[in-house]
Amino acid sequence: MTETVAAIEPTEAAEVDELISQDLLVEEVSIDGMCGVY
């Protein structure tokens, strides 16, 4: 299935910016940040 390349709409750009600023694809977790470990 091929993806058609679409021009970025203004609303899409805003969504993308939000994704970037919220870093929804990667999140860092402290290895010490889970309750239930000594």
Binding site: E12, L19, E27, C35, G36, V37, Y38
Partner: protein
């Protein structure tokens, strides 16, 4: 084209993973100390302890499951004769190790060995910034032992080892001093919550921080706690916060049975180290499916991984932050699990606690305490023993007449 927004991390973790991210492994119930608040009621070795071979089999499973690291504790794990053999086996099999110790065996030679290893971290327990405060809880000489271990680690060039403190009524005022001790040894301070677990239940009333101290603790963490670890211990205090800038470090969720668990010295798997009780026992690593089978198939963990209702807490505006607090804290103070935490910052547990009949809260299922223990001089215990030999809980009790 819109991208599907992934679920928040917390929600994904709450549903559980195919393997823990990390876990606590109590290697032995034997201990040279008898800390009054010991969450595992340790002291005497259990004769059914996992053998060296059985421990290695568990490590093999952890490697296959890609558990990233284990926190090895006890009791005092270094008193096991095969302790170093097991630590080496773990790191050779891609399982990182952090071990918790009172410092008794951290000699200069041991410190050198630890400093040379990339995959072993050390955590020294300390519950007072002064010997007076520390030894009242951990026993005479324990402060000196811990500080000596820290000095040996620092001298060997081990930077960033952990100093782990359980916060109590007696040591909240020493937070800055604890930080200073950590700075002195180039170590990292870790502060954690006291739970009414194990022997902790006996001293909970006297030791747990007051409501005012909880606020003090929260404020200190927000202001000065940037480099301080907490093990996500204080998510029950999140109700104090009122914005993203005030949030405490950590996932802010109960990891028990979802991303973490406990393996105890006899191979029993519990939801977490604060919940050593039959109600939170998921299975045993000696069973046919091993640890993997218990983690993935036990009924208890399946229950914990289902979406939890907040019960009585759902209507509270703090619920989204505090998630109803700590399961173990509620259980061992006799409170219902679908209600507020005993230290609820809104005070919502106060009336519920008054309704718990004295002595009716669940007792730990196991007690490996030493038969005779030094009685802390500055703490009052619930029941003064009639004599050192008389173990009858009703000794000295006579019903009032009429």
């Amino acid at each position: 084209m819109t991208t599907t927004t992934p679920l928040p991390l917390v929600e994904q973790f709450q549903l559980g993973l195919d393997a823990p991210i990390c876990l606590t492994w109590e290697l032995t119930y034997a201990c040279n100390l008898s800390c009054v608040h010991c969450l595992s009621s340790s002291g005497r070795r259990d004769p059914r302890e996992l053998t060296t071979a059985e421990c290695k089999a568990v490590i093999d499973e952890l490697e296959r499951m890609q558990v990233f690291y284990v926190n090895i504790g006890g009791g005092e794990p270094t008193v096991r004769p095969d302790f170093w053999e097991l630590v080496d086996y773990a790191t050779e099999h891609h399982v990182g190790v952090k071990f918790s110790t009172n410092g008794v065996k951290i000699t200069p030679a041991v410190a050198q060995r630890l400093a040379a290893s990339d995959y072993v971290d050390v955590q020294i327990s300390l519950d007072g910034a002064t010997a007076e405060v520390n030894d009242a809880v951990r026993g005479t000489g324990s402060y000196a032992t811990a500080l000596l271990a820290m000095q040996n680690l620092a001298d060997a060039g081990f930077r960033g080892f952990k100093i782990s403190v359980v916060m109590t009524r007696q040591n909240v005022a020493q937070l800055d001093q604890f930080k200073a001790i950590a700075d002195r040894f180039d170590a990292q301070l870790r502060i954690t919550r006291l739970r009414p677990s194990g022997r902790g239940a006996d001293v909970w009333d006297e030791l747990h921080p007051t409501a005012a101290q909880q606020r003090e603790l929260y404020d200190w963490l927000v202001a000065r706690g940037e480099s301080v670890l907490t093990g996500d211990s204080f998510f029950h205090l999140s109700g104090f916060g009122d914005g993203a800038g005030d949030s405490l470090p950590g996932l802010n969720l109960c990891g028990a049975g979802r991303v973490v668990c406990l393996i105890d010295p006899v191979g029993d798997v519990y939801a977490c180290p604060f919940a050593i009780h039959d109600n939170f026992l998921a299975g045993n690593v000696r069973s046919a499916g091993g640890f993997t089978g218990v983690w993935r198939e036990s009924d208890l963990f399946a229950d914990l991984r289902r979406p939890q209702t907040g019960g009585a807490c759902t209507s509270c505006s703090a619920f989204d932050s505090c998630r109803g607090g700590c399961m173990a804290a509620k259980f061992f103070t006799g409170l219902p699990l679908d209600g507020p935490d005993p230290e609820c910052v809104r005070g919502n547990a106060e009336s519920a606690l008054l309704q718990v009949a004295a002595g009716s809260a669940p007792k730990p299922s196991l007690d490996h305490s030493h038969r005779s223990r030094p009685v802390a001089l500055t703490l009052t215990t619930r029941r003064a023993p009639v004599s050192d030999c008389n173990e009858n809980p009703l000794a000295g009790f006579s019903p009032s007449a009429g």
